[in-house]
């Protein structure tokens, strides 16, 4: 047995044990509700991180999350079983995602981010305030809260449902990223123009990624509704998307495992923090999380994903990760005398 296989086996065993026992192992710090909340935030952060594959930032995941919650409410009112509700939630995310996708086809970078923020505010101010109200009502005083699926009513059991879903989402994302689609998305980040003149449609790849991201956020919203029961509209403040984006950066933007870990940890820690301080430091949780994220990003710009990769290689006894080629810097050597000199080519200054 090689050291590598031993380390991998031990690592996988420890990770599995940790995941399986988390709600009980963390009882000293607070109830299982905290870790349930963290796992759902992990879904949101994964949704944001996936958009990093096309080099875009969306501030609409919180709005998409809200739509998921509304769909669950409607489906439960219609008496549909959980196994039918979940696929419906995924399908219902597609129209919203396509709407956002239209922005992505026209706008890039900060313009796309602002457009998604505008979309989120519009949804919050109109649809959510009207539908959810300040009490999370679905109908004012006659409100009927969203229920958890049968068999997963307790917070501990609900944890296994949401964690299983998160791991499934992460697996799907990892498979997509390793497929030809992932390679095409990498190419898209390098040069949209080059990819398009080669006969590949950047728009199709963008729409696919936005739909994938939207589905993750919407399913996250559905679980959020099940966790909370009644959810007031202020839970979907669009500005929260900036926080989740920060988590995604701290996890390593574009990284599946980094997003899962960062989202779960940064989502759960404040809840445990509140519990441990017996509510005395409520309100300071995000301050500490912000401080932690800032330090992490300054120390390791590649985020948790980068730290994890380096640690893993060290445990396996491999050489440190060589400096990655991050992007391809476009250099016009015709304007660079230094580059010409390096290649031994002469340059002539023409008068």
């Amino acid at each position: 047995m090689t050291r590598r296989s031993v380390v991998r086996g031990a690592g996988l065993t420890l990770l599995t044990a940790f995941v399986l026992t988390m709600p009980y192992a963390m009882k000293w710090a607070g109830s299982a509700f905290a870790i349930d909340y963290g796992v759902i935030i992990g879904m949101l952060v994964l949704s944001v991180s996936v958009l990093g594959w096309i080099g875009e930032i969306s501030l609409a995941p919180v709005a998409q999350m809200g739509f998921g919650l509304v769909v669950v409410n409607l489906c439960q009112e219609a008496g549909l079983p959980f196994l039918v509700i979940l696929p419906l939630v995924v399908i219902s995310s597609i129209p919203i995602s396509l709407l956002l996708g239209i922005f992505a086809l026209r706008l890039r970078g900060v313009y796309f981010a602002i457009a998604t923020l505008a979309f989120a505010y519009t949804a919050q101010k109109t649809f959510f305030q009207e539908y959810l109200g300040v009490q999370g009502g679905f109908g004012g005083t006659d409100s009927k809260s969203i229920t958890r699926p049968a068999g997963f009513v307790s917070s501990e059991k609900f944890y296994y449902l949401v964690m299983g879903s998160l791991l499934l989402m992460a697996l799907i994302c990892a498979l997509v990223n390793r497929s030809w689609i992932g390679t095409s998305l990498t190419a898209l980040r390098h040069s949209e123009a080059a990819l398009s003149v080669l006969g590949h449609s950047p728009g199709a790849y963008k729409l696919f990624t936005i739909c994938l991201s939207g589905a993750l956020a919407t399913v996250g919203g559905a679980y959020f509704g099940m966790l909370q029961g009644l959810v007031p509209s202020n839970y979907f403040q669009p500005a929260l998307a900036i926080l989740y984006f920060g988590f995604a950066v701290a996890g390593g933007l574009g990284s599946v495992s980094g997003a899962v870990v960062a989202g779960t940890a940064f989502g759960a820690i404040p809840k445990y923090f509140d519990s441990l301080s017996e509510g005395k430091l409520v309100g300071y949780d995000l301050f500490f999380i912000g401080f932690l994220s800032l330090g992490l990003v300054l120390w390791a710009p590649g985020g948790l994903a980068d730290i994890g990769r380096r640690l893993w290689r060290r445990l396996e006894g491999e050489a440190p990760v060589p400096r990655a080629v991050i992007g391809f810097e476009e250099i016009d050597v015709r304007d660079s005398a230094a580059a010409a000199a390096e290649e031994g080519l002469a340059t002539v200054e023409v008068p």
Partner: protein, 323 residues
């Protein structure tokens, strides 16, 4: 007076001669000009180096991949551009440009910096939408996205190579191969390529264009000359009918440039239509069958290399006149 064919400033000639003698290498912009229309260095020795490519039989020049026997190719008009115009604010980047390209021919587009050459390519490939004008490609009106045009057989390279840096060289090439297969396109220059796997096809085309390096290294780690050749290979992997090359020889050393010229001539002989932007006048005059000269977005001259070199308007605006 010297035996040079063209007119150039004595100072530029002295500098170019000195540098070329010192380095023994091709000067990067030694044959170009600075956009002010003051100099042109056409060295007969360099011209002679490129000219034999016209007369060589296809199959002799590049090892391996291309068919050794010259096939009978039909010469027909593949691209027709009529009245193409685009403006950016008050700048008319292209203003009523007409151009035609034929199969198995190399057409050159030259002109001072800012003449609109790259803008012209961007309009053809769909990266820019012209204000007016009509483009007919292979008998059909050309419109739609760049991807659609790429699938219809319009391949191109960029002034600054745009390879996907973190992907391997082979992955870069496979992008082209996938398009060729999904669009059911045959390789004009070697129909047998369709029958082999993407990996093998990419490797063969890479060797054909003269790339001798590792196919599994990240493209971003390649030296500049290899970036050019790999980008050319990637464009060829897409099985284009018309290949548009934007300053393909800049950054190549003498031997690479010679191989490159031979390759272009050979591809052209096999039926591929090539549209070329290049500042190296020796190269352009040496291999192009037809040249269009742009200045301030307008065609100021067109014709064979010999006709263009004699054209007064071209000498005035681009080639330059001796003091």
């Amino acid at each position: 007076m010297s035996d040079r064919r063209e007119i150039f400033s004595p100072e530029a000639r002295r500098r170019a001669a000195r540098l070329m003698a010192e380095r023994g290498r091709l000067t990067r912009n030694g044959n170009g000009h600075n956009g002010n229309g003051t100099t042109l260095v056409l060295d007969p020795a360099k011209l002679a180096r490129f000219e034999p490519a016209r007369n060589r039989v296809a199959g002799q020049l590049v090892e391996g991949a291309l068919p050794a026997r010259k096939r009978r190719v039909e010469r027909r008009e593949i691209l027709k551009v009529e009245d193409l115009a685009i403006h950016f604010g008050g700048v008319h980047a292209l203003d009523g440009v007409n151009l035609a390209a034929r199969t198995a021919e190399i057409a050159g587009v030259i002109g001072p910096n800012g003449a609109g050459k790259t803008t012209f390519f961007n309009c053809l490939s769909g990266l820019l939408t012209p204000d007016r004008g009509e483009i007919t490609f292979d008998g059909h009106k050309l419109n739609g996205s760049p991807a659609t045009r790429g699938r219809h057989g319009l391949g191109r390279t960029f002034q600054t190579p745009k390879l996907f840096g973190t992907l391997t060289v082979l992955d870069n090439l496979i992008f082209g191969c996938r398009t060729a297969d999904s669009a059911r396109r045959d390789y004009v220059f070697d129909p047998s390529l369709r029958r082999i796997s993407h990996e093998e096809r990419g490797a063969r085309i890479a060797r054909m264009v003269g790339y001798r390096g590792d196919l599994n290294v990240p493209a971003g780690s390649l030296p500049f000359g290899d970036l050019r050749t790999v980008e050319l290979a990637r464009a060829l992997c897409g099985a284009p009918s018309l290949l548009m090359l934007d300053e393909p020889a800049s950054g190549l050393d003498v031997s690479q440039a010679e191989d490159f010229v031979d390759l272009l001539r050979k591809l052209s002989d096999l039926g591929l239509s090539i549209l070329l932007i290049e500042h190296d006048m020796s190269l352009v005059m040496g291999i192009c069958d037809y040249i269009t000269v742009l200045d301030f977005g307008q065609v100021i001259a067109e014709g064979t290399p010999a006709e263009v070199q004699r054209n007064e308007a071209v000498i005035e605006a681009y080639l330059g006149r001796e003091d």
